[in-house]
C-alpha cells in the first residue's frame, strides 16, 4: 500500500489482492440445511410421519467463470457474459437445486383412511448455477 500511495503514476501489483481471488470463496453457491417439523406448520394433525423434514435449499453467489464444478451448461457462461458485457438487466446465473430425492409421507385423510405415499423431488440434494 505504501508504494501505491507514494507514486500513483507507476502501476504496481498488489500480491495480496491478486492471491485473494484464489482463496476458497466464502458465500459461493452451496446446499444449506433447513430442518422443519410439521408441528411448526400445525400439519401434524394429519401428517403422521416423518416428524422432521429437511428439504434443504441452495443459496450463494455463482462464480464468475462457472466451470464443470457446478455441472452448468455452457449457456450459463454465455448468460454471465451477457450480464457483464452487454446488458446488466439480464440477471446473472442463479444458484438453484440440480438434484432431488423423494420423501415418504404418512397422512390421515378426512374420511379416516390412512395413506402412505412417496413423493418425488421433495429434498434438494445438489446445487447448480444456471
Amino acid at each position: 500500500d505504501e508504494d501505491v500511495k507514494e507514486n500513483q503514476s507507476a502501476p504496481t501489483y498488489n500480491l495480496s489482492e491478486y492471491f485473494k481471488q484464489f482463496l476458497y470463496p466464502q458465500n459461493e453457491c452451496e446446499l444449506h440445511n433447513f430442518r422443519l417439523s410439521f408441528s411448526q406448520l400445525k400439519w401434524d394433525k394429519w401428517i403422521i410421519a416423518p416428524h422432521r423434514y429437511n428439504p434443504q435449499y441452495c443459496k450463494g453467489d455463482c462464480p464468475r467463470v462457472v466451470g464443470h464444478r457446478y455441472g452448468s451448461p455452457v449457456h450459463t457462461m454465455v448468460q454471465n457474459i451477457i450480464y457483464e458485457k452487454l446488458d446488466s438487466s439480464v440477471p446473472r446465473p442463479s444458484c438453484i437445486p440440480a438434484e432431488y430425492s423423494p420423501l415418504s409421507v404418512l397422512t390421515i385423510e378426512p374420511d379416516g383412511s390412512i395413506v402412505y405415499k412417496e413423493y418425488e423431488d421433495m429434498i434438494a440434494t445438489k446445487c447448480t448455477c444456471r
Binding site: 400439519w43 423434514y53 430425492s101 404418512l106 402412505y116 412417496e118 418425488e120
Partner: protein
Amino acid sequence: EVVSERPPELLLVPEDEPPELPPVLLLPPGVRNGYALLPPILKVLSDQRPHSWEGEAPRLQPDSRALRYMKRLYKMSATKEGIPKANKNHLYNTVWLLTPYAECKHHPKDQIKEDLRSVDLLFNLDRVTALEHLLKSVLLYSFDRSVFSSSAITCTCHLAVKENDPSGQVCPNVPQSITFNLHFELRRHKWVEIDVTSFLQPLIASNKRSIHMAVNFTCLKDDQHHNSKQGNSFNTALVPPSLLLYLNDTSEQAYRRWNSLRHRRKNPMWSRWRNNPLADSMKEMGTENMQNKRASRHRR
C-alpha cells in the same frame, strides 16, 4: 406464462366451487381437473391461504391398531429421514388403508347375538385415482393380544365380493366367493393378511368406486369346542377388517420407484455390490472412491 401451442384458455370456476382453488389464471389449461387429484400434501402447498386447512371439517380418527400398522409399514419402507428405502421387493409407492364405511351384520337365527360371523363390508374407493394402479390388495384382521392369549387358532373364512353396481344391470355378474381355512400360532402374529388381489383387480381396473364384500370369519382355539361360550366371545372380539391397497402411482408428483430401480440395475457397480455385498466389495469401492478423490484433487 404458459408456453403451449394452443392459446391459453380462461378457466371459469363456477360459483359453488370450494374457494381454496388458486386464482383462475394460475392453472394452465388441462390442469384444472388434475388439481383435485393432487395428493393432500401438495394441495396444502399449492393453497394460497396456508391456514385454510384448520377451518376444515373435523377428520375422522382412524382405528389405533390401523394407525399402528401403518406406522410400522412406514418404518419398514422409509429411513429415519423419511427417504424411501431402495428395496427391490418394494414396488409400490402408495398404500391406502381403508376402513369400511358401512357394515351390515347378519344374525343367523340359531347364533348368539353380537356374533361377527357374517358381516357385509362396504369400502369407498373414491380417493383412489385412475393413475394409482393396483399391485396387491389385502384384508387386514387385527387380533387383540389381551383376548387372544397365545395359542394355536384355526379360522374359517368365507369371502364373497359383490358388484355394487347402481346401474341396475339386469343380470349382474355372479359374485366371486371363496372359502378357506387358516391355521396359525397367535403367539407371534397380531395381524392376519388375507390376499384378495385376484378378487379386486377387475373391479378396480374397471374403475369401480365402491367395493362390497360379504365376509364370514370364524375362529376357534384348537382346544375349544365349536359352540362353547368362550369360542363365541373369541369371535366377538374380532374387529371388522381394514382393506389395504398397494398401488403404483404414475402421476407426476409420485416417486417413480420403478425408474430408479431400473437405473440401479443398469449400473454395473450396483450389480457387483449386489452379487458380493460383503466387505471386500465395500473396501474395493472405498479404495476406488479414494482414488477418485485423489485424482480429482490432483486435477484441481
